[in-house]
Amino acid sequence: MNSEKPLVYILDDDPDFLAIFQLMLAKLGFETKTFMKEPEFIEGIKKQKPGLCFIDINLHGFASGYPLVQSLHKKYGKELTLFVVSAQSGSVAISHAVELGATDYILKPVDSTILASKLQKFFITEGTREESLSFLEHPQGIEARLILDLKVVEVDELGIGFESDHLLSKGSVFYLKEDSFEFLKGAGDQLMSVSSNEAAPGNVFRGYAEFGSASEELLLKVRTWIQNNR
């Protein structure tokens, strides 16, 4: 690992917050540069891209951080990691920032342990290692479901062909929601079994999943759907 300290930028119009936050980050092993105004901040990024940026959402009393996050994300994409800093804790505000391109959301007042845990995902420093939270294991594990998107590119009588950024193991199962396709209406969520999933050009995985236990009625609905969409 590089022995130089990772550089992070902070944009906030509150000098008191900047001072405290800068100290906090320095303690965790980061080099910081602070900005109180947007133009200087944008100029700073142009001159030298930092490892990560913290952006206050409520700059000068307005929610002007949102459009800034959006335009920076549009311009730099994954090259620039953006953390939003805000006192607003509602999930709507957080979701909005994430939709616009923020990678994470730090709440004011900043908890240094949570900050370290989040930063450790990007940079491991002595400071983040000492300060970050440790995970506690559940003795048996808790049943859960992960919900995410797949792109369906093909439908045939026995199942669906899909593309995704994620790798689904061959032989694994997932549930196709009832509202995904007209032909599933009234049939309930379908258990699908992955029969293939391999890396394809363009950094995606291409796969095929069969209907787990399709009734004759469902098969008829799938066939008529295919017939009408051919």
């Binding site: 994470d104 709440l107 939270l133 049943e143 792109k151 369906v152 093909e154 689904l168 004759e216």
Partner: protein, 228 residues
């Protein structure tokens, strides 16, 4: 011959022939649908999306040829394999039917073994085709993958599953634990690093809570304090 899961549509204006065909195919496991005219046949085709159509030619008011033309529409081939079963053995009819794209032409009366052989051949050569969705019709759908939450901290969860989720992906986590913690609507996503490979086909994904207030952190702390 096992035709389980296959559907065959028989179109003939002679009810006796429909009866005979149904008896011949009774033991194959195929689902049979029937129509007594060309127009009824087209309606059945639309409703039942059969794998194979067996069609007579000499029907009224619309002939089997009319049916074939309607079925083909503007396409350059028939959308489903069609076997013609007709008493008409004239060369003109045979040529005309093949030019419309039929798979085979059988003259009545036909022997059962020959009929079954032709049915099998038509079904084997023509699997019910799939639909490759054009880019504008391709759609993202939400799927639910079974998983196990094996560890937690105030910043997120470690979740084992058969899926390896790409870094920085927005996901949703559904579980009794999430409900207890009132985090159902809270945004979560995977971290910037790759998921950990466990035993064959299993992965550990780190799912992070985006933005953690002191209130949420304390709720999580209280809930997981007795874990190891």
């Amino acid at each position: 011959m096992n035709l389980q899961g296959k559907e065959i549509l028989i179109i003939d204006d002679n009810p006796d022939l429909l009866f005979i065909m149904r008896s011949i195919l009774a033991n194959t496991g195929a689902t049979i649908s029937e129509a007594l005219s060309a127009s009824e046949g087209f309606q059945r085709y639309q409703e039942r999306a059969p794998h194979l159509i067996i069609c007579d030619l000499g029907m009224k008011p619309h002939s089997g040829f009319d049916f074939l033309r309607l079925l083909r529409g503007q396409a350059n081939k028939l959308p489903v394999p069609v076997l013609v079963l007709s008493g008409d053995n004239s060369k003109t009819s045979v040529v005309q039917a093949f030019s419309l794209g039929i798979s085979d032409y059988l003259i009545k009366p036909v022997e059962t073994p020959m009929l079954l052989r032709k049915i099998r051949k038509s079904l084997k050569n023509n699997e019910f085709s799939s639909v490759q969705l054009s880019p504008d019709k391709q759609k993202n759908i939400a799927i639910e993958v079974p998983a196990t939450i094996v560890a937690a901290s105030e910043a997120g969860f470690r979740v084992n599953s058969t899926i390896r989720i790409a870094p920085n992906t927005k996901v949703k986590l559904k579980s009794e634990l999430i409900t207890t913690l009132q985090l159902g609507d809270h945004p979560v996503r995977t971290g910037p690093g790759a998921a950990l490979s466990l035993e064959k086909g299993f992965y550990q994904n780190e799912i992070r809570l985006v933005g953690v207030s002191e209130e949420i952190a304390s709720r999580i702390r209280k809930c997981i304090r007795f874990w190891k």
